[in-house]
Symmetry: C2
Subunit: 708 residues, 2 copies
């Protein structure tokens, strides 16, 4: 990011609106109207070639006639004129330009050409661009509503300490509208558009510089620039700030929509989760939770790495308490009932709790003194990691009385206090506003409340600079190949070279097969004999695999039979090698995969062998490389691998060795030439006996750099 850009994005002292209309109801007229309505105090320079005033402000016929160089220009012209204006703005050295026009990469080849043109215009200049296809940039604290989003027609524009960066322009209006209804403001909101120049990550880095901002909300459709996103996340983590994201694309249709909308490559949702996990970005599942959750992540409540997931649910209505408890339970959160301490503290003021896991104050809970005692008592107990209060009709009928004890308890808590969330069971926007004013997380629905609490209690362990980690490790062999895929024998050689134990085997030239009895002396039967041929990808169907060969003298006979069968299957198959392996009797089989995913980078996957991984979608994905401990976490996350962990008294498999193999395999990330690779299967032997890669494949880039 250039120095000149800094500060101009969000706190410009002068803004130009290029193509501003006098009609405030038109899209091109809105920015001037909104800047005036929300009291922006900087210079506002409408540029309109046909008028001397725009909405009662002096207007300028051209960029060259402006009274100075604007800090930030918002170009609201159509596509082609917008490009022309940008050219001029670049010449003038304007540091920051936001472009509304669409018609770029999201519209096909012609748009893509325009995008290249735009990039060429900017190359080597000091001008940085938000968009195109951006609905604008808003700083709520200064009233700088430099946006065409109709939601900003309404006042007031509430200021706050939360920022929003959105790939959907309309969604920033949704946040402002829904937030305003319950007294929640924002520091600033940026619609990033197509990110042709400034990416989510670069804009995020700029926003992080504001010390008042502790939480940044991301509304994402696709991952366009993982590198700047990582730099942003790394800086946020070092500053102790929270990134919360809602990412479209949980479903296949959603992923399609999101990518078509922005013209980006589609990433699998699992790959996105792997990226967020490494970047410490917390992903909400329920849309409204994205902003409702923010007070739970205040700076003074830095996430602990504790594994305590026990939550107290205190309520004035058993029904409301049960609603949120059920949702918490679905997300793996344990509800901890009243401790003896909480019970006795409440008994002192005459409140006797019933049995069961809710701290149900019933009607007594509508008395502020009772609720205050209850919350103080809960906050004092180490048992609980967090507390949720479900407030019934008093939240609507007597919002001040209902909120007061909670706000007081919240205000009095120490730096290390527990997260506190309130679920308002009835329609209770006044109570929600009072909660927001007190910095307390209030939730309208049990689903959003549970989503936010689960997210708050999930420890994060970001991993940055994976590339550097690879470089710091011992180097791995360079890969020299002029083919686009490796045979299984070559793939096993590669995997062995990077530290994956592979099955004991021997490769024989077909011409030597008559001497197999003499040549195969180090392998322990039973043996597996396979024909090696790039022309026989489906060996079993081709009859090119024989299991259970106990005597090496049988090899030549077995190979002859397989050759007949394979040539019947595919007469022109070129076969000149035979692979002979020791047959392995594993506890269980697993599949380890490696691939490079557009926009996200190297990924390592792990699943059980056979078809269950696919049928049950039981596959774990992480960014590569992973260390052995991280591989162990992956193993724990594959449900089907519980079998090898000694499920119900079964013999255990060597999961330590599997973790080591996964970690070793993930170092393929260092070999740029490898696009995709798979060990299928890796045999998990009994505890202490290790694992071995039995079969594998690798797809290569035809031209690639060698090693690292």
């Amino acid at each position: 990011m250039t120095g000149t850009f800094r500060g101009r994005l969000l706190t410009p002292s002068s803004v130009a609106v290029v193509g501003a209309s006098n009609d405030s109801s038109r899209t091109a007229g809105r920015p001037i109207a909104f800047l005036k309505r929300h009291g922006f105090r900087g210079e506002i320079w409408p540029v309109n070639r046909n008028r001397s005033t725009v909405q009662d402000l002096p207007a300028y016929p051209s960029l060259s006639s402006l009274p100075g160089r604007p800090d930030h220009a918002f170009v609201v012209l159509d596509t082609e004129p917008a490009l022309a204006a940008l050219n001029e703005l670049v010449s003038l050295g304007v540091p920051c330009v936001t472009m509304l026009a669409d018609g770029f990469s999201e519209t096909g080849p012609a748009g893509l050409a325009r995008e290249h043109k735009l990039r060429a215009l900017l190359a080597g200049t000091k001008t940085r661009v938000v968009g195109p296809n951006s609905l604008g940039v808003i700083n709520c604290r200064t009233g700088m509503a430099l946006t065409a989003n109709a939601a900003f027609a309404k006042a007031p524009l509430l200021p706050g300490n939360v920022s929003v960066i959105s790939q959907s322009g309309s969604t920033i209006g949704t946040f402002v509208s829904r937030g305003r209804a319950r007294g929640m403001g924002f520091a600033n909101l940026v619609s990033v558009g197509n990110e042709v120049d400034l990416s989510v990550g670069e804009i995020g880095l700029e926003i992080l510089e504001d010390p008042k901002i502790s939480t940044i909300l991301l509304f994402l459709e696709s991952i366009k620039n993982a590198a700047t996103l990582e730099a942003f996340a790394q800086r946020a983590f070092s500053l102790g700030k929270t990134l919360l994201a809602y990412k479209l694309g949980r479903s296949e249709i959603g992923a399609q929509l999101a990518s078509s909308h922005t013209g980006a490559m589609m990433s699998s949702d699992r790959a996105v989760d792997a990226l967020f996990r490494d970047l410490g970005i917390r992903r909400v599942s329920v849309f409204e939770a994205l902003f409702e959750a923010t007070p739970l992540f205040e700076a003074k409540l830095q996430p602990s790495q504790s594994t305590n997931r026990k939550v107290a649910v205190v309520c004035t209505t058993g029904g409301g308490g049960a609603l949120v408890a059920d949702q918490l339970g679905l997300r793996g959160i344990e509800i901890a009932g009243p401790t003896a301490g909480v019970r006795s503290r409440l008994a002192e003021i005459g409140v006797r709790l019933g049995a069961g896991p809710l701290i149900d104050l019933t009607l007594a809970g509508t008395r502020p003194d009772v609720m205050r005692v209850a919350i103080d008592a809960i906050l004092a107990e180490e048992t609980y990691a967090a507390v949720v209060a479900a407030i019934g009709s008093s939240a609507e009928t007597y919002p001040e009385l209902a909120v007061k004890p909670i706000a007081e308890a919240h205000a009095s808590r120490s730096e290390t206090a527990k997260p506190l969330a309130v679920f308002t069971v009835p329609h209770a926007y006044e109570a929600l506003s009072l909660l927001a004013a007190s910095g307390i997380a209030g939730f309208r629905t049990p689903e959003a409340c549970a989503d936010a609490i689960a997210l708050r209690l999930a420890p994060i362990a970001p991993r940055f600079d994976l590339r550097r980690r690879l470089e710091q490790q011992a180097s791995i062999p360079a890969l020299a190949s002029n083919v686009d895929s490796l045979s299984e024998a070559e793939a096993l050689e590669l995997f062995q070279a990077i530290g994956v134990p592979t099955v004991r085997r021997q490769l024989l030239a077909l011409r030597d097969i008559e001497r197999a009895r003499d040549l195969v002396v180090d392998l322990r039967p039973p043996l597996v004999v396979k024909l090696v041929s790039a022309d026989l990808p489906h060996k079993t169907e081709a009859g090119a695999v024989t299991l259970g060969v106990y005597d090496p003298s049988d090899i030549s006979r077995v190979v002859a039979a397989m050759l007949r069968s394979a040539r019947q299957y595919r007469p022109d198959a070129r076969i000149d090698q035979v692979l002979i392996q020791e047959q392995v009797a594993p506890i269980q089989e697993a599949i380890i995969g490696f691939k490079r995913e557009p926009a996200i980078g190297s990924l390592i996957t792990l699943g059980v062998g056979g078809i269950f991984a696919e049928i049950y979608d039981d596959i774990v994905v992480r960014r590569a490389p992973v260390c052995v401990d991280e591989a162990r976490e992956m193993i724990a996350d594959v449900r089907g691998l519980r079998i090898s962990a000694g499920y119900r008294g079964r013999p255990k498999g060597d999961l330590d060795a599997l973790a080591a193999a996964v970690a070793a395999f993930s170092r393929l990330a260092a070999l740029d030439g490898v696009l995709e690779a798979e060990i299928n299967p890796v045999a998990i032997r009994p505890e202490g006996d290790g694992v071995v890669a039995v079969d594998g494949l690798a797809r290569l880039a035809l031209t690639h750099s060698q090693g690292i």
Copy 2:
């Protein structure tokens, strides 16, 4: 239900409030205050032994001094006085009594004793009771707010055509509060309390008699009386009315809470789903969807049995459209893009749609004429099963203009039109109220919107009177046994007798084992030889099973070895029989289970064999019995059984035979003596070769009726 009760629950002409307080802020004072506030026009008789007036109404010192027999009495006294009052009300022949007091079965043994006393009081009388532990009964049309729920302090009480029956008293207030905020009223609401007398089902049957009511919402914590619930659901189905339910207990903690709260037995969530499925009760997953969804189920839009699950998403904001489309996708709904017809109709008015599956009108969609054309065009297309409109900031800024075209299109549609839902992206309660007034389903969140649409498009196929179905089938053998469980040999005999194919086998007395070679002549090797003993439940661990016996002459030797091993494992094991079976080589194994679940009845379960069913929780549950077609649906719902369906070119298993076996096994429901039974495993042979039960068990009731 007695005749005298009918009509008195919801439309009494006189109500007595027994124990009414003069202080309207106290619980016991609320019902009188609320009846007055909401303009109840019937007689209101406060009963208070200490006052001549209560809240300015003439009060009566005792029940015997009342000016007449009240149609409905609400007893707001504490537990013991409430029982005394009930005794008097019964003597007076009062047809309907609602009881507020708690302290019954939910509080342990003493409460349970009180519950028995209450039942005894009612036995043989004409008085029917709602509760105890009921917060009251409300008829919004007549202002009969006979309730102590604080939410009814607020006016107005909006009337509507939707009824609510709730096991949580506070939740009726939640519905009224949330509904009021968006112009949604209710016909009536009943807090059923502990259902000691009147159950959800009986109250439902009463409500169904109102022809104006087309939808009944159920907020359920537990299933207490499945029989009356079934009668209610059956009547609702025959009248073409919709039952929508939110049932707590998706999570284990939620299920616990729900049962402890009402003192009911806990049912597994799968069993509840099986019950709802048979009863045609639609279960929502997102709380707010319970009332937001109601307009989708109007009488004139009876659910089709079509399998079309394609939905059109039309929007003024791509972000909002994508939000709801992603959620629909997660629920298996297909988003169908604009048809040529929709495209050309919109092109005629100058709106060109982009690529992709959304019908994104962008800003043009904020013009009412454009939205009207779009919705009319969509409704005219057979492609779509339903339409969702996502409305951006115009829903907040210009609610009338935003809603008008949708309301007009809705009003003009024919009887057979498609379901239409609106997701308001910003905060837009005015638009939601306008939608409600037009009878259109409006949603605040993408999650609730998608939940409701998925529910609306899921065909229902209720099955009532399962017991009758059993009786109509050919009788099955009576079961005579004086033990509490059957040996595997006996269990297989039972399963065979009810029509399940079982493995070919022979039972030998241990004393005959030396003659096995001569006795075992009809079984085809390889054979499996097992020691039969109730003392060896874990046969494999005891070394009491031998596979792969090829020669019957080996049997005696094999048995001798197993006896040594078994006696070492358990010296006192009684062993006097040996079971010899043909060894089966299946395509796949499955487990079929049968059990009787408290409150819900007989259940049949199906899963894959081995441990994957458990690890992946891949088990399908239905109420028993099922017919062969229903069993086929179960098979289709077990993910792991895709293997036998020829997954990725694998050989197919005989799933027709499996369906027949499941159906046959489910007829255990006719044998009251069988509490629980399992075939584990049933071997699925290649297509055409059938299935065989290989092993099994059955747990019996020690005293039981014989057969049916």
